[in-house]
Symmetry: C2
Subunit: 617 residues, 2 copies
Amino acid sequence: MNRYQVLFQPGDLKVEVMEGSTIMEIMNEAGIDLDFPCGGRGKCGKCRVKILQGAGQPTAQEMDILEEEELKQGVRLACLTKVYGNISVELPNYKKLEHNILIASEERSFQVEPHLKKVFVEVDRPVLENQRSDWQRFRDSLARGGYDRLDGETPIALLRRLPETLRAAQHRVTAVMYGGKVVGIEEQDTTATMLGMAFDIGTTTIVGYLLDLYSGKELSVVSTLNPQTKYGADVISRINFVGQEEQGLNKLQTAVVEALNKLIGEAAEKAGISRNHIYGVSIAANTCMHHLFLGISPQSIAVSPYVPAVSEPVVAKAAELRIDINPAGKIFVLPNIAGFVGADTAAVLLAVELDRSDDIKLVIDIGTNGEIALGSKEKMVACSAAAGPAFEGAQISSGMRGAIGAIDHVFFRDKLDYTVIGGVSPLGICGSALLDVIAGLVELGIIDKRGRLLSYDKLTNPAAKVYKDHLVQYEDQPAFMLVDAEQTGHGRPIMVTQNDIRQLQLAKGAMAAGVQVLMDTLGIRVSDIKEVLLAGAFGNYLNPHSACVIGLIPPELESKIKTIGNAAGTGAKLALLSASEYRRAAEIAGKVNFVELGSYPKFNSIFAQSTYFQPTR
Amino acid sequence: MNRYQVLFQPGDLKVEVMEGSTIMEIMNEAGIDLDFPCGGRGKCGKCRVKILQGAGQPTAQEMDILEEEELKQGVRLACLTKVYGNISVELPNYKKLEHNILIASEERSFQVEPHLKKVFVEVDRPVLENQRSDWQRFRDSLARGGYDRLDGETPIALLRRLPETLRAAQHRVTAVMYGGKVVGIEEQDTTATMLGMAFDIGTTTIVGYLLDLYSGKELSVVSTLNPQTKYGADVISRINFVGQEEQGLNKLQTAVVEALNKLIGEAAEKAGISRNHIYGVSIAANTCMHHLFLGISPQSIAVSPYVPAVSEPVVAKAAELRIDINPAGKIFVLPNIAGFVGADTAAVLLAVELDRSDDIKLVIDIGTNGEIALGSKEKMVACSAAAGPAFEGAQISSGMRGAIGAIDHVFFRDKLDYTVIGGVSPLGICGSALLDVIAGLVELGIIDKRGRLLSYDKLTNPAAKVYKDHLVQYEDQPAFMLVDAEQTGHGRPIMVTQNDIRQLQLAKGAMAAGVQVLMDTLGIRVSDIKEVLLAGAFGNYLNPHSACVIGLIPPELESKIKTIGNAAGTGAKLALLSASEYRRAAEIAGKVNFVELGSYPKFNSIFAQSTYFQPTR
């Protein structure tokens, strides 16, 4: 088979490839980060690249998706284009594809209580008159320090290093203890330093916090896109990848582990410390990300009855999971609640202390799978709403994620107004803007209760008539043109089509139905809810008013909405800094009653009802 | 560098080698088992091979050691001969070099009490109404079986296999439990089978016993030479190898682990079972072999104050030590007593129940390092006597190990008589025969009290005069010719030289002094000792009368001597079959007071005294 050269621009990156590789495969191999929301099936059209030299015939799928002008210019889909000669590829928005990753969050008070402890000991030197073994003398000195009973199996890896360590350190060593177990032995007194990292592994992004395990102080924060994205944008496509691809599970696990190791390195560098001083890592993640990180197949999550392989908190050795920190280090994985309500939700509930709340609170994390929890210290229930990718901009005609170039907010004041992430010419809209547009159009009566985009002649609200020119036909369906072609960064108009509205209706209907089912389960009314806590990136960026107008959140609750930032990250930090908080996460996960919407008796009718736009005020 | 062919005969084994390799290296690489007692330093002359074609110039060392006739015939030392062309090598006694390995032993009664337990459980199938995780449902079913609290960290390797195992087995699985820990999960009901192997890893030989862990029944016995022998015959040369050779520790560990895995395969095949049914392995070994098996450097044992890295019992996962049995399997290593009184002695004391004996007993394992224990349930003391290799036939002019062709017993009746292992023409003498010869010569007055071999004219005992022709000069020293050149298998006479007698004096002096020091330590006399138990190969083969005549064992105890076979193997079996017996081994090891002969105040004078041959009866 022939080999060809591919030159990527900008950046002048040259790659030698096998004949017949797709550009997507080549980019993945070369570590070029680009999103493939549909997992490389040529359906979403989001992986447009321009072939500067050597573009071949487009495929039928590309001819369907791409504009004629684009095809002429050599624009192709990276996932469908195969290489049969030397080519040169331009990645137009590549440099800009940096995400706004949510790292800030509310903090709460708690007691620092490290999982691991360090004990400095001066070990007796061996003498002819008393030939106790190295391990025995070490244990005797630990016993004098209060550790007179050790648990568990003899740590052979430590025994192997013990003789040399003792002698190199003149018998002055520091024991790293995890409960009654010696997990590390270090030369000299190293008790002054003990750091840890808390991670929130999202489907799309990963955030890591470097913390001092004694003071609780945050030393640095790092984040990255989840590199698993290249194997599929959402949980389901990654589960399919595990089932269909040889070594699929291994590839996904390796991708996330490598990302964590890279982030650990970055965080350490930022803070000016050595990764060898990191002894603990906590992990919050949804159930699928949780399983993939542990190298456990998540396939059972995707088929009825949707059970995870494991829900309990998992404590592992760093080496066992190939996490590159101090060899004595431990990984503390937070517990899952159910197949689609994961350790990230457990972390959120820990952060907001729902288990100790006198008031009933509604906690929502909006995403492809929206997690909803409701309750108080009396009782907690939770469910997962399959909202689909609309909130993340996927399967929306002009949709994109909250990256540079995305319109993130839209205002219907005297005239249409919007803001763009990064202040550049707009490239598309992200979920928060989609909410604003649709809420605005609902308020203007341009969209009716059932979600139909009305034609100009059907409008009754005078304020709506201003938008006459925005009401267009696009691809044989009614559409609202948000930005015309001349004002965008790519020369294509930005639209909200009738189909986009339908997608949003399904998404918000799923969420609203979930809230309704949980209220029914607890036997409460909307007025019993004292607070609505919006966790996660989307909840943080959306306009609460828009969310209420479209009925994503019951309109009566608009004044009770509070955004809590990356609360999953906060929960991960708490679990890392305090062994009691980690145990409490397990208690919370055990107490929450999971409600499976699919098997809830009246779910279908509740869902159908919830897709409507209710009359506002 | 050129490559040449080496052809080994018999067997027609062709090996391609790098120019300049020694024949020893080539044999080691090719897996040809031959002894190199001096570790390849060209000192012992025991690795004679015949170069049939292509013999080069002998080295100065070879000219020193080899007979002129041998040199002419192409006989060379494998450790010194380097290859600079295609050659053909004859291994004269290779096929015969099978050892008599001691496997039989006394048994005692005990209660079978497996370390691991198997529990068959029918796990609930997952349902929509109750989405407990696989691990939770598995644990719930275990709890119904009485295991309601699990210890330790979550076993990630098991979690990874759990979803598939449960579904493949229709949720009918067997849990393998070690204490409160799940160490294995197997499809269907496998509770009927649980096997184990007990190993005694000696410096020279390894014996393995395949046992049914339920009934205690022995299913097969296997043995082999310890392949570490090729890196040095004794403990000290192996410790040197660790210190001097790159990856020396790793090589030695790998050698013994591979040997055990091979033996496990053989034992399984003999018994017609699968190695996957083996769940437990126990290990008795001297301290150095113990450390090498665990991959722990034994170097601290060899330098004052001679402390081991670890004495406590070590329990390890099979995979951690690369032992190829069921993945749930555990390795139970017996505890050491001191640097030169190892887990093999702990096993012997467990086998003979010295800790529960009303009578004072003397337990001796004679070898290069002789281990001696003395005491009763009141108090136990032990020491290690550095006897040197004389008892094993090394550094003795005609010495060899107890292999085919070795004279093992000598009788001074009307005339000189002897027996040869395998009934072939004799090739040398092993330790037991050396004892017999010297004891006989002492009794005949041919050797005086100080160990001098008297000349014929100094003999006073008429019975001694029969041996006139045997009293010769050999290599400038007086010698006793046991077999003349015509009657041996290799055409060289078999001699016991004055120097050989000196070697034996040092060896038996060390042992006898050890016994004396232990008696002094306990404050007892010879007459207080009610039984002498001889463990190990040499103790099993020697003639107790000879041992008493030369004073290796106090002559007063001759009638109290009992051989107990491979008692270390028995101890290993007990520790494997019963968790209480394993714990008891640790108690014994902790109770035994180790006496360091080197720092015992009067040791030098006791030793000097002990080298004499006492007047007998």
